[in-house]
Symmetry: C2
Subunit: 303 residues, 2 copies
């Protein structure tokens, strides 16, 4: 049996803020693997978050993080990258308010840990560097599908999670965060937020931009002439434009560098085709094939 | 039951020249659906083509098309695009030679029809315009896998086949060719060779070039940070560089026009990112998403 089941939950109470595809899948994985005793979902839309509870993804549903933050051991912010920092601040403010008015049950649990799942890390981690409880995460798993209805308890299995501590992050909490992601089936690696963003520009953000661009070059007259290749190559373009606008803006510099590298290679293609240079064309194709074959040989548990 | 089975074969003897993934899949489909009474495979490598026979894909195996051409009703050339015209000429020469030396059994069957499966049509159809028996085809189906071992009798089901007659092509034979591809489960459409090549540059050749380029931008350090999106986007880059070099060379002009269109859109992306123009970024992403969604709504039987 490949998945680890926990006889005693790793975390007592996990709060998931934003129960969409990722948050919902995380909730499902936590329950399925008995990683958390209680999973509380926080949503903006009362009816939606209640539906997630009725669907069995979460144990409790609320629209008010202030009402549950004191009970949390771990809070995972699964909101869009341009909302994470604000949402974390709201949670922090809620803790402070509770502390001053409710002395007996005041404050957070001493082990409270906050993390997120955003695919851009530097802006979030820089803005939250003063929030010592926060350590960034990026579980590299997803889908172009949206909403908790598409949640999948196995979404994280065998995938990679990048954890991005900063200089002030307590080693013990970094270790705990890695154990948490490992508990839902992931492998983990530590990177600096900036190094993460440079890498993800090349492995995710640039490919998304390219796929969207390629999709938009398809005229309606040609749709019936596409094969599975075109569909594979443009699949990620189905992703939510609002979510991806925030990602592209947050990592614009690294993506621009990626575009420049890509454009240089396309310029080489242009020249090779214009001069009908068979040798050069085959060289360019072989570079792509070799890189793709190396990727398939990299055991990262995907597919 | 979605597939049509023929009580009486549509074609008596079909010769397939080049029994790789496409030729092998066609052979399998012809046998599976009883479209041909006898399927003869012609290969360059005696051991390989004999293996395809032993595997049950073909009824007879040979390396010499001259030895079987007189028995053929339909010959499908499944060789690379830069070999089709030469292979057809060899078959024509074999017919002529037989005519002059073996009078009794001379010549071809009166209904002999020749076609191919190449993904570029204008160069082939122009070169073979004088071969009245030849009408080009392009079944838009395939895989990045290679060899008859990956043959799949269902490869063509629900996919589109473009048939590219020229002015001198007999209407009756064009109709027969469409019926043949329909018999293996395809939908068919007629296009001029040039129109086909313009369209396929955008739906297949440019996407392949882009996927290969994107794959080659991935550094080994970043391999473990890829998700399913990168894998989808670059999947076709695994295709055989030699086959694709021939395709790219044969359709260079149309592909160059496609690159120019693509580059204009990338330039718009560059400007939007450099100026942090959220509205423009979202517009570009939405164009891609809309085009991709329209593609998914196009019922072409794929996926």
């Amino acid at each position: 049996m490949s998945e680890q089941l926990f006889l005693s939950p790793l975390e007592d109470t996990v709060v998931i803020v934003g129960v969409g595809l990722i948050g919902g899948s995380l909730a499902a994985a936590l329950k399925h693997r008995n990683v958390a005793r209680t999973v509380i979902g926080v949503g903006r839309d009362a009816a939606r978050i209640e539906s997630a509870r009725v669907a069995g993804l979460i144990d409790e549903a609320t629209t008010d993080i202030a009402s549950v933050i004191r009970r949390a051991n771990l809070v995972v912010f699964c909101t869009p990258v341009d909302r994470v920092a604000t949402d974390v601040r709201v949670a922090e403010e809620a803790l402070k308010k509770k502390s001053s008015t409710q002395l007996v049950t005041s404050g957070s649990k001493s082990d409270l840990l906050l993390t997120d799942v955003g695919s851009v890390k530097a802006p979030i981690c820089e803005e939250l560097a003063g929030v010592f409880r926060f350590i960034g995460s990026h579980p590299i798993a997803g889908s172009h599908r949206q909403g908790f209805e598409a949640a999948d308890a196995k979404l994280f299995e065998g995938r990679m999670c990048v954890v991005t501590p900063v200089a002030t992050s307590p080693a013990q909490q970094v270790n705990r965060l890695e154990k948490f992601w490992q508990a839902v089936g992931m492998r983990t690696v530590q990177m600096s937020p900036a190094a993460h963003d440079h890498s993800l520009a090349m492995t995710s953000h640039l490919p998304h931009l390219i796929a969207a661009t390629l999709a938009s070059t398809l005229s309606s007259d040609n749709r019936h002439l596409t094969g599975s290749g075109f569909r594979d190559t443009t699949r990620v373009a189905a992703g939510d434009p609002a979510l991806w606008t925030a990602i592209m803006l947050s990592n614009a510099e690294s993506i621009l560098r990626g575009i420049d590298e890509f454009q240089q290679k396309i310029a080489a293609w242009r020249e090779a085709l214009a001069s009908r240079n068979a040798e050069e064309i085959q060289k360019l194709l072989t570079e792509g094939q070799t890189a793709r074959a190396a990727l398939d040989k990299t055991v990262i548990g995907i597919d």
